[in-house]
Every structure is written in structure tokens, then in C-alpha cells.
């Protein structure tokens, strides 16, 4: 098993005729993901170079190809509509890669997704992967290996760094999820921790946080209460100055809260080991 995506994932790529959408649709197909459809309003009826049928709407992709998961590459101003379209069409998992989406659009779209009983990951995220089963994202599939470590991260390349270290130590991953670097995103630590805790194929969890907000503190409290599997954490941004956005829109220490020190302290207090460098994650998971 794994969480959220697997061999039954039937993916529709929203914005498949764009540069990024097309490129990653092809990468995901190559990895083995069932990319069953793409959308591009006004270009319905055509096919991509790889033979993926293109529809005008997600609705049609669901109707004709049984898509159950979508990945969004459309430009930021159109993301709100794209997310709502997917949720309205009955897509159960919506992964939004696009960066730079206005926060209030995310708030609105997320509420809509929730009201339809669907789930959203992102925006501004690298997607997720259940190695050997399905890649729904822009991650380099080849650095991941099937295994039993669940990975949750707010960052892209930092996830790869951690995963690369895990893989080199022979510790494969059940599912690795990049939740996104924006202040408001869909699924967050708590929801994913719960899924990993309930996933029989996940035996340990790596949590990669960063400055901004207090989701890590909440995650620490949640782990202490509900998670019995070993967890190791890493927090990026110890050296970040206050009030500066560190690349991610959500990575900002504001009004003196959201610092790495606070987050690390929360994990320590909950008995969760915190890595000083990403390379320490594998040993911390083994030690537990």
C-alpha cells in the first residue's frame, strides 16, 4: 500500500498543452503513472505527442477516461477555477503544482474542494510519489525507491535531498508528499500523518518543515498524541532573518513567531528527534 496515489491512480493533467504540463505529463507517463487524459480549454479532441487524449474540461476527462486524480499546471491566475473545476467534476485528489497563486484564491478553492469531499495538495508543491506505483508531480522519479518511509515536506529540492539520503542508506519510501510552500495549502501535516499512521506499508515517517506559521508545532503535538510509528524531523531556516520571505510565500518569520528554534523545541518536547542536517534523517529514523 501507500497513501493517496497508487496503481489505481488515473491522472488528468490540467494544462497539458503548456510547456510544463506537457513535459511532466510525459515524465510521469514514463515513470509508469497512468496519465489518462489532459485538459486544455478549446483544444479538446486532439492528442498529445504521447497519445494522451486532450479534453476541453475535467468533466469530460472523468466521463471518458475515468480520471480520479488531477495535477494542475495552469498559470496562477487560473488556478482557482481549475481546482474548482476538478472538484466539481468529482476528482478526489487534486495536486496543484503552480506557484504564485493568490492566497485568497487558495482559501476559496480549498473550501470548495472540502465542500465537495475532495482533497487538494499544494499549490506551490512538487506533488507526490508512491515509488514504483505512481508519480503525480514534478519530482525526479529515479531518486525514489519503493520502501516503507513516509515523507512529508514543505519543500521540493530539500525533499529530494532527504529522500536521496534515505535511498542511499537503503531506506525506500512508501509515499513522499510535498505539501507546498504557500501559507495556505490543502492537505497539511496532520492529515498526512494520520494517513501514514494508518498505512500498513509505512513503518517510519520523515517530516521536513521550515520556518513560518505553526503547523510544525501542531504536528509535534499531533504526533505525540496519535502517531506510534517513529518520526524524525528536519526544520529549514534556522538562519533566516525575521520578516523576510525565504523563497516560499509561506516561509516567513512574522511578528516573532514561526522561527525554526520554536519548531525544533516543539518536536524535542514531544520526544521527536530533530536532524541538524538533512543527512542525519536516516540514522535518526533507525535509532528510534
Amino acid at each position: 500500500m501507500s497513501i493517496l496515489v497508487n496503481k489505481d491512480t488515473r491522472l488528468v493533467v490540467q494544462g497539458i498543452t503548456g510547456r510544463d504540463g506537457g513535459f511532466h505529463a510525459s515524465k510521469m507517463s514514463t515513470y509508469g503513472t497512468k496519465v489518462v487524459a489532459g485538459t486544455s480549454p478549446g483544444k479538446g479532441g486532439s492528442k498529445t505527442d504521447n497519445g494522451v487524449p486532450v479534453f476541453n474540461s475535467v468533466h469530460q476527462a472523468v466521463e471518458n477516461e475515468g480520471a480520479n486524480t488531477s495535477i494542475i499546471f495552469v498559470p496562477a491566475p487560473f488556478v482557482k477555477d481549475a481546482v474548482m473545476e476538478a472538484a466539481d467534476a468529482g476528482i478526489s485528489l487534486i495536486v496543484c503544482i503552480t506557484e504564485g497563486v493568490p492566497t485568497l484564491d487558495v482559501v476559496y478553492a480549498q473550501k470548495y474542494v472540502h465542500s465537495k469531499g475532495s482533497r487538494m495538495i499544494g499549490p506551490n508543491c512538487p506533488g507526490l510519489i508512491s515509488p514504483g506505483k505512481s508519480l503525480v508531480g514534478i519530482m525526479p522519479g529515479n531518486i525514489f525507491y519503493e520502501g516503507s518511509v513516509g515523507v512529508i515536506s514543505r519543500s521540493g529540492t530539500l525533499t529530494y535531498e532527504v529522500v536521496y539520503n534515505l535511498t542511499q542508506k537503503g531506506m525506500g519510501q512508501s509515499t513522499a508528499v510535498g505539501v507546498g510552500g504557500d501559507p495556505v495549502v490543502g492537505l497539511y501535516y496532520k492529515e498526512l500523518l494520520e494517513m501514514f499512521q494508518n498505512d500498513p506499508d509505512t513503518s517510519a515517517i520523515a517530516l521536513i518543515g521550515e520556518i513560518g506559521g505553526d503547523a510544525e508545532e501542531q504536528a509535534a503535538a499531533y504526533i505525540k498524541e496519535f502517531v506510534t510509528k517513529p518520526v524524525a524531523a528536519y526544520i529549514a531556516g534556522s538562519t533566516a532573518p525575521a520578516d523576510k520571505r525565504m523563497g516560499h510565500a509561506g516561509a516567513i518569520i512574522s511578528s516573532g513567531s514561526g522561527s525554526a528554534a520554536e519548531k525544533k523545541a516543539a518536536f524535542m518536547a514531544a520526544g521527536i528527534p530533530v536532524a541538524q542536517e538533512p543527512s542525519q534523517i536516516p540514522e535518526l529514523l533507525k535509532l528510534k
Binding site: A76, P77, G100, V101, P102, T103, L104, D105, V106, V107, Y108, Q110, K111, S115, M139, P140, N142, I143, R154, S155, G156, T157, L158, T159, Y160, E161, Y164, G181, D182, P183, V184, V185, Y188, I208, I211, G213, D214, A215, Q218, Y234, A236, G237, S238, T239, A240, P241, R245, M246, G247, H248, A249, G250, A251, S255, S257, A260, Q276, E277, P278, S279
Partner: protein, 377 residues
């Protein structure tokens, strides 16, 4: 993005949120004129700077009479508050305050919504109130579909105010704050203090607004108010090239792909006893031109003694990255040592390509950082 108090208050006025009358002035003479125009024996003169703590820094003072106004204004104009030079002050009617409150709207990560935050502890630092007496803070998450209907505004208002005449004034004010927040893509609308005057009127005495950078593309009016300082200008310039850049002041210039990895690189430098000069995320691919531009940015900082390039080769393989770097550095003239760390897909091939170059290369972050710290000393 931040704006000045007086600009926030202009938005308040536009949206019908009552504020104490005030006029923004760029010199002491203008302050004297403003004083006459306001017809108020006593006024407050407030430094307009894009940072907090101006009160403690002496940037807010009362004045009575034209002479004192000129004197006080002259003392505030030109002040330096946390690195910000005061070039504008607001001259505002002094108000007979009966009681002070805190009201703000802010995006909340946990409830994934806008949250209305209120407290009877107005005029104080709200973070301090939140830390010491969290029970004195009311938080009401707003449903984005329905906004703040009357009943909710009324319930909120009654949490703060006992007097029904004030409740009646507060209901539309709360609703208008939300309208302003959503229509302008704010990330913060704060009134602190919101006061009830001795005359029984609700007035915003101080106002603050921050905006969502991601939404500026559809808020040209807001964007036009952006006044970047020197650092922000550099960051903005970097942004126009597709970079995320933040100046930090150390000796080790960093160039990393990905924001999380870039932060992690800075942290690791610190861990190994060095000081990062900057945060720099060059984004996804690492084509030669991008590297050249990034190097220019790093080398513009004369503090930089060594450059650390930390690249995770994912979809772009390490050997391609290495080729790109070699090509880029043909065009870059510098004596500053460069440490390159390459990991990920095909990292062996990548490092092989760099073997005979002038770069110090490494395949783990630890090794690379250690080398860079060493070279920076």
C-alpha cells in the same frame, strides 16, 4: 508588501471605516498648514515608516499650537527608525479616548481561512497579549463563501463592546474591513487601537495593511504604493530574473536550486561555523545564463569571500548541470573561490566533468559547506 499608515487609512476612508482626521506631510511647514486645516487644538504627529516600533523610537508625539507642531514635526522628520529614514509624518487630530481595542483580519494557515482577531487589550503589542493572556484574544474564522454576515459581525462586536450604540457602529466597520481585505488581496488589515471616544464614537486611530505578493498582478493600485528600500530593490531585481534573493551579511555567497534546500544550505553553513552572505534560490533548471546572472548578483556583494553552489540534480541531471556550470564560468571573471556541490541523478558523471576545473567540488552538503567555511576564513 507593506504600506504606510496614512495609505492604509486612505483605504479605510474609501471603504467607509471611520478614522481620526489626519494629513500626511513631507516637511514641517506642511505640518503647520495641516494643523490649521484640522481645527484641533491638540494633534498627534506620527512618523510614517514601513516598520514597527516607531512609538518606542520617539516617532509619535503630541503637539499643541502651531509652533510646537513645527518643532515636533522637525524633530521627527529625518529620524532614523530601524534603518528607515522618516520622510513623511502624519498630523492627526488628537482624540479623547474612552477605551482602546484591537481588531484585525489575517490569513490563518491552520483554519485555511481569513480570521478575525479581536481583543479588548487595544493599543498593546498583540503578540505579547497572545503570548501572556491568550484568553483575552478572540479568533473567528471566516467562511470564504459567506463572508461576514450581519449576525456574525454582531456577535463579534458584542464580544468587545457592551454599549449597543458602539455595537451598531462596529458591525459595518467589521464588514467593511473584510470587504477591504478581500477586494484588495490583503494579508493583514489591522486597527490597533480601535478606540471609543469620550463622545461615543468608534474610530480607527492606527491602521496597518499588508498585501499578498502573489496577488499584486491584479492589484495595480496597491502595487503602485510599493516603496522598496535598498535591500528590497535588490530582491526585486533578483525576482525579475526568476530568483529569490535575501541579503544576510555573511561571507559565503550561496547559489542553490530550491527554496528549502537554499535555507538548509544557509543553516548548514552556520552549523559548520560560517556565515551565509545570502539566501538565493535560482529555481528549477540551472542553465548557463541563469548561473551567470546569479554570480553577478553574488559578486556585487563585496563581503562575499567564497561562493557555494549547491545543486540537486533531479529532472535536470547532474552531468548536464556540470556542463552548464563549466560553460557559464567561461564568461565569469573572478578570483573568488567557488565550491560546487552536486548530488542527485548522475552525480558521479557530473563531478567527473568538474574534476579538472578550478572549482572545489563535493558530493555531500557537509563536505561542500566545510570547504566553503574554510575558504571564507
Amino acid at each position: 508588501m507593506k504600506i504606510h499608515e496614512y495609505q492604509a487609512k486612505e483605504f479605510f476612508t474609501q471603504y467607509g471605516i471611520p478614522t481620526a482626521d489626519g494629513i500626511v506631510c513631507r516637511n514641517a511647514m506642511a505640518c503647520a498648514d495641516a494643523y490649521k486645516e484640522l481645527h484641533s487644538p491638540k494633534v498627534v504627529i506620527k512618523a510614517q515608516v514601513l516598520t514597527g516600533g516607531r512609538g518606542k523610537a520617539g516617532g509619535v508625539k503630541l503637539a499643541s499650537g502651531e509652533d510646537q507642531v513645527v518643532e515636533v514635526a522637525s524633530s521627527i522628520l529625518g529620524m532614523d527608525i530601524k534603518g528607515y529614514k522618516v520622510d513623511r509624518v502624519m498630523v492627526a487630530k488628537a482624540v479623547n479616548i474612552e477605551s482602546e481595542y484591537y481588531i484585525s483580519l489575517v490569513v490563518d494557515r491552520n483554519t485555511k481561512s481569513v480570521v478575525l482577531i479581536m481583543s479588548k487589550e487595544g493599543g498593546m503589542d498583540i503578540e505579547e497579549v497572545a503570548a501572556k493572556t491568550p484568553e483575552k484574544i478572540f479568533r473567528i474564522p471566516i467562511d470564504p463563501f459567506t463572508g461576514i454576515p450581519n449576525f456574525l459581525a454582531a456577535r463579534a462586536a458584542r464580544l468587545l463592546f457592551d454599549n449597543e450604540s458602539i455595537v451598531k457602529q462596529a458591525i459595518p466597520v467589521i464588514q467593511k474591513m473584510y470587504k477591504l481585505f478581500t477586494e484588495k488581496d490583503a494579508s493583514l488589515v489591522e486597527i490597533n487601537p480601535m478606540v471609543v471616544t469620550k463622545e461615543g464614537t468608534l474610530l480607527a486611530i492606527d491602521g496597518k495593511m499588508n498585501f499578498d505578493d502573489n496577488a499584486l498582478y491584479r492589484q495595480p493600485l496597491v502595487e503602485s504604493l510599493f516603496e522598496p528600500n535598498a535591500e528590497e530593490k535588490t530582491e526585486q531585481m533578483a525576482k525579475s530574473k526568476g530568483f529569490s534573493f535575501v541579503h544576510l551579511g555573511g561571507k559565503i555567497g550561496c547559489m542553490v536550486n530550491g527554496a528549502g534546500l537554499a535555507m538548509s544550505t544557509m543553516d548548514t553553513i552556520k552549523l559548520y561555523g560560517g556565515r551565509p552572505a545570502n539566501f538565493l534560490d535560482i529555481g528549477g533548471s540551472s542553465n548557463p545564463n541563469k548561473v551567470i546572472e546569479a554570480m553577478k548578483l553574488l559578486l556585487a556583494d563585496t563581503n562575499v569571500k567564497v561562493v557555494l553552489i549547491n545543486i540537486f540534480g533531479g529532472i535536470t541531471r547532474c552531468d548536464d548541470v556540470a556542463r552548464g556550470l563549466l560553460e557559464a564560468f567561461k564568461e565569469i571573471e573572478t578570483n573568488i573561490p567557488v565550491v560546487i556541490r552536486l548530488t542527485g541523478t548522475n552525480h558521479k558523471e557530473g563531478l567527473d566533468l568538474l574534476k579538472d576545473s578550478a572549482f572545489h567540488s563535493a558530493s555531500t552538503m557537509g563536505q561542500a559547506v566545510q570547504k566553503a567555511v574554510e575558504l571564507s576564513k
